[in-house]
C-alpha cells in the first residue's frame, strides 16, 4: 500500500492530466454496448459500468480520478448488468505484447526486486538482502531495446493478421500500453463473433504453438524432400522456410540434414522455431472475451505514462510521446538504482536522496515504487 502523501500527489497529477486533455480521451465506437470499469488509488475495482458518450466519460474521470480505467473489447446488449446477464454479442480481437515476456538479455540490467517488508532494493530476486524476506516485487524500467523488441513483435503480429488472417490494415490499431509494451486491436474482422476456445486456437496459430512435423514437410514414414516448404510460400510454412533455410541455395543441404536427424528431432526444431519466430503475444488477453482492457488515452498507474495511439510505430518513442504530465517540479526522496530518460531528460540513478524533479519524472518513480514524496 502506498503512503497517503504519494497517493494524493499521484491523484492530483492525474486529475490535472484528465482535466487538460479531454481532447485525447475519447470513448470507443459503439460506446453504449461496452462495459467500463475503473480503479481508484488503494481501492478495488468497480466494473459493469455503462457510459453514453465522451461527456459522461469525462465526468467519471473528474469525479473519481481513477488510477486506471478500462473498457471492454466486447459488445453487450446490457453492459451494466452482471456478467451472466449482459448478453455477449461480439468482441474485437485484442493482443497484448509485453517486453517482460520476451526474455530479453537487457532485462537483468534494469530489473530490481523491492522488498515488501522493508522496502530494500536489490538485484536478488529470491530473498531480500537486508531482512531475508521472500516477499519481493520485481520492478523494471524498460529500456530502448525493450521497446524496440516489442515493436518488432507488433510488426510480426501485423504481418500474420494481414497476410494470413485477411484483416484490413486500417482496422489494426496499435497503442503503447503505458508501461512495457503494446496493445493491438483488430476491428471488424471475421473473428468478431468467435468465442474463447476459438480465440485460443488463433493464439496458438500466432504463437506458432502445437505444430506437428507433417505440417512443415517432415513425415514419419515415406519421407519426401518435396513436401518441405519453399521460401516464397505464404503463411507459417514460408516464414519457417526463411527461418530454417535462410536462403534458397541452402535449402537442399539443410533438408538432407533434417531428414538425417529424423522425425522427433524435427519436432524439437519446430518447438524452438516457436520461440524464435512465433509472435509473442500474451495468450490470456486474446482468449478472454469478457476482459476490460485499458482505455486508450488514459494513464497507466504502473508508470504514469498514457496509453497512446501509435500512428507511426517505427518512430514512436514512448518516453517523449506518452508522457503528458506537468513539468512543475516536486521534491521527492528517490531510491532508484536504474537510470532512465523521459521527455529527453536523463534521470538517476538515485541512492536514497532528496531531489527536486519535474512532476512527470516524480510520478514515474513513485508509480514504480522507486520514490516517495519528501
Amino acid at each position: 500500500m502506498m503512503q497517503e502523501a504519494d497517493t494524493k500527489f499521484l491523484e492530483s497529477s492525474f486529475k490535472k492530466y484528465y482535466f487538460n486533455h479531454f481532447d485525447q480521451i475519447k470513448v470507443p465506437d459503439r460506446t453504449n454496448e461496452r462495459e467500463f470499469g475503473y480503479q481508484k488509488f488503494n481501492s478495488g475495482m468497480s466494473r459493469h459500468i455503462s457510459i453514453k458518450d465522451d461527456k459522461e466519460l469525462h465526468l467519471l474521470l473528474i469525479q473519481n480520478i481513477p488510477s486506471d480505467i478500462y473498457c471492454s473489447n466486447a459488445y453487450y446488449s446490457f453492459p451494466n448488468l452482471p456478467m451472466n446477464e449482459k448478453d455477449w454479442r461480439e468482441a474485437d480481437l485484442i493482443f497484448d505484447i509485453d517486453a517482460k515476456d520476451l526474455n530479453l538479455p537487457c532485462r537483468i540490467d534494469h530489473t530490481v526486486s523491492i522488498c515488501n517488508e522493508c522496502n530494500n532494493i536489490s538485484k536478488n530476486s529470491l530473498q531480500c538482502t537486508k531482512c531475508n524476506s521472500s516477499k519481493l516485487e520485481k520492478k523494471s524500467l524498460p529500456c530502448k531495446n525493450c521497446i524496440d523488441a516489442s515493436k518488432f513483435e507488433v510488426k510480426k503480429l501485423s504481418e500474420v493478421l494481414i497476410d494470413d488472417l485477411d484483416i484490413d490494415k486500417d482496422n489494426i490499431h496499435v497503442y503503447f500500453s503505458g508501461n512495457e509494451g503494446f496493445h493491438v486491436y483488430a476491428y471488424n474482422s471475421q473473428f468478431q463473433h468467435i468465442g474463447s476456445r476459438e480465440r485460443s486456437e488463433l493464439v496458438d496459430y500466432i504463437l506458432l504453438r502445437g505444430t506437428i512435423p507433417e505440417t512443415f514437410g517432415m513425415k514419419k514414414f515415406k519421407q519426401d524432400r518435396t513436401s518441405f516448404p519453399n521460401l516464397d510460400e505464404r503463411g507459417w510454412r514460408g516464414r519457417f522456410a526463411k527461418h530454417i533455410f535462410g536462403s534458397k541455395s541452402k535449402r537442399s543441404k539443410i533438408i538432407t540434414e533434417l531428414l538425417a536427424n529424423g522425425y522427433s528431432s524435427f519436432q524439437k526444431t519446430l518447438d524452438d522455431a516457436s520461440d524464435d519466430i512465433g509472435v509473442k503475444i500474451d495468450p490470456n488477453v486474446t482468449m478472454d472475451i469478457h476482459r476490460i482492457f485499458r482505455l486508450p488515452g488514459s494513464i497507466n498507474s504502473k508508470s504514469g505514462l498514457v496509453k497512446t495511439h501509435c500512428k507511426d510505430l517505427a518512430r514512436f518513442d514512448p518516453y517523449t510521446e506518452a508522457s503528458f504530465l506537468s513539468d512543475d517540479s516536486v521534491e521527492i526522496i528517490a531510491n532508484c538504482p536504474i537510470e532512465f530518460k523521459l521527455k529527453n531528460k536523463k534521470f538517476g540513478p538515485y541512492n536514497n536522496e532528496k531531489i527536486s524533479v519535474p512532476t512527470f519524472a516524480a510520478v514515474y518513480m513513485i508509480s514504480k515504487k522507486f520514490a516517495r514524496i519528501a
Binding site: N84, D166, I167, Q190, D204, R209, T211, I212, T215
Partner: protein, 346 residues
C-alpha cells in the same frame, strides 16, 4: 431450399423433402407391417440399422451415385425413413446415436465423392450448397482445394482432439483455410450426425405398427446390449492430477493453469470448495481468502455462475501439465481416467 431429385435424396435422405416422396406415394405407415410388396423395404431398413449398430456403414445399391431404376432410389429413401420409425418405436437412444453416426458417415462418403468430382461441376455445387444450407459454411472451390473462412473453420474444428486439426497445422492464407475434399467433409462430420440425431429426435413416435412387433423387440434387445455401463475400476487420480498435488505438497509453485486444472478436476469429482482449499495451503503465495474466492468462482457459486470444466488432455499437453502414462489409455479428459467401459454383452 435446394431443388433435389430422387437420386440426390437417395444419397442424402435426411434432407428436407425426402419425407414428401413417401407421402406422395401414398403409403401409410401401417402398410409396411403387412404388405408383402413393401417387405424388401422393411428388410432394408432393418439391415441398415443392424449394420449401423455394428459400427459399419450400410452399402447402398446406388452405384457411383447413379442408380438407374427409380424403385431402387425409392427403396433407398424409404428404408431410411422406416429405419427412423423403427428407432422411434424402440425408444433406444443408442440405436439413434449409432444409426445417425453411420448415416452421417455414409453421407460423408457421398459428399466427399461429389466434392472431388473435378469433371462434374453440378455435383460439386450441390455438395457445396448442402454444406452451406445445413451448416452455414461458405466453401469456395479453388483448383483442388476448398477454401473456408478461418472463423468458420475454427467453430467446427475446435472440438477435434487430433493435433493435425489445430489451425497452426493447416494451410492458411487470406483469411481462409485450404482443405482437401475429405477434410472439408470431415470438418462437418459431427454436425452431420448431430443434424441427423435432431431429425430423429424431432420425428413423432408413431403407434406400434402391427406386423413389426417382432422386429422392434429384436432391435430393442440389440440396443440394450449396446448401452455401455461405466464402472470405476480405480479410485486413483490420473498422473497429471497426482503430479499437481505432489508439487503443492512439496510447497513448490504450481502455475495458475495447473491450479485451475486441479480445482476443476476435484470439483467435477464432487469435492466441495472447503475440501479442496487446504490443498493449496502450501503454495508459496497462499492466501485463504483469495483461494476460497477463486474456488467458489470456479464452482460457479460466485460471479457469473458459470461452472468451469476440467481442461482436456490436449489443452493440458500444450500447457505442459500432462504426464500421461499407459494407464491413461487414450482418454481425452482427465475426468475419464480409470473409467473403464464395460461391455454389457461380455
Amino acid at each position: 431450399m435446394l431443388e433435389l431429385g430422387t437420386d440426390e435424396f437417395a444419397k442424402y435422405p435426411f434432407l428436407e423433402g425426402a419425407g414428401k416422396i413417401l407421402k406422395d406415394k401414398g403409403f401409410p405407415l401401417s402398410q409396411f407391417g403387412n404388405d408383402p410388396d413393401l417387405k424388401p423395404v422393411v428388410e432394408k431398413a432393418v439391415h441398415r440399422l443392424k449394420v449401423s449398430t455394428k459400427g459399419g456403414i450400410y452399402k447402398s445399391e446406388i452405384i457411383d451415385g447413379q442408380a438407374s431404376k427409380s424403385f431402387i432410389l425409392e427403396k433407398e429413401i424409404f428404408s431410411f425413413l422406416l429405419a427412423i420409425v423403427l428407432i422411434k418405436l424402440t425408444g433406444m437412444h443408442t440405436l439413434k446415436k449409432r444409426f445417425a453416426l453411420a448415416e452421417a458417415r455414409r453421407a460423408e462418403n457421398h459428399l466427399e465423392k461429389d466434392l472431388g468430382k473435378a469433371s462434374d461441376k453440378s455435383k460439386v455445387d450441390l455438395a457445396i450448397r448442402i454444406i452451406y444450407d445445413l451448416f452455414n459454411i461458405e466453401v469456395v472451390k479453388e483448383n483442388d482445394f476448398f477454401k473456408i473462412p478461418v472463423s468458420d473453420y475454427l467453430k467446427h474444428s475446435v472440438d477435434f482432439h487430433e493435433r493435425e486439426w489445430k489451425l497452426i497445422n493447416r494451410h492458411v492464407e487470406d483469411g481462409k483455410v485450404l482443405l482437401t475434399p475429405d477434410k472439408t467433409v470431415r470438418l462437418i462430420r459431427k454436425e452431420l450426425s448431430t443434424y441427423i440425431i435432431s431429425k430423429i429426435s424431432n420425428a413423432p413416435t408413431p403407434p406400434m405398427i402391427s406386423g413389426l412387433e417382432k422386429i422392434v423387440s429384436e432391435l430393442t434387445s440389440i440396443g440394450r446390449d449396446l448401452t455401455p455401463s461405466y464402472t470405476v475400476i480405480t479410485g486413483e487420480h490420473p498422473p497429471c492430477i497426482k503430479h499437481a498435488i505432489e508439487i503443492l505438497e512439496k510447497g513448490e509453485n504450481l502455475p495458475h493453469s495447473g491450479r485451475f486444472m486441479l480445482a476443476t478436476f476435484l470439483l467435477a469429482k464432487g469435492q466441495s470448495v472447503q475440501q479442496i482449499a487446504p490443498l493449496f495451503k502450501n503454495a508459496p503465495d497462499y492466501n485463504e481468502r483469495v483461494t476460497l474466492y477463486q474456488l467458489n468462482h470456479l464452482a460457479g457459486t460466485y460471479g457469473s455462475g458459470t461452472q468451469y470444466s476440467c481442461p482436456s488432455c490436449e489443452k493440458l499437453k500444450t500447457q505442459s501439465l500432462c504426464f500421461a502414462t499407459s494407464e491413461c489409455d487414450n482418454i481425452v479428459n482427465p475426468l475419464q481416467f480409470g473409467r473403464k467401459k464395460n461391455d454389457a454383452r461380455s
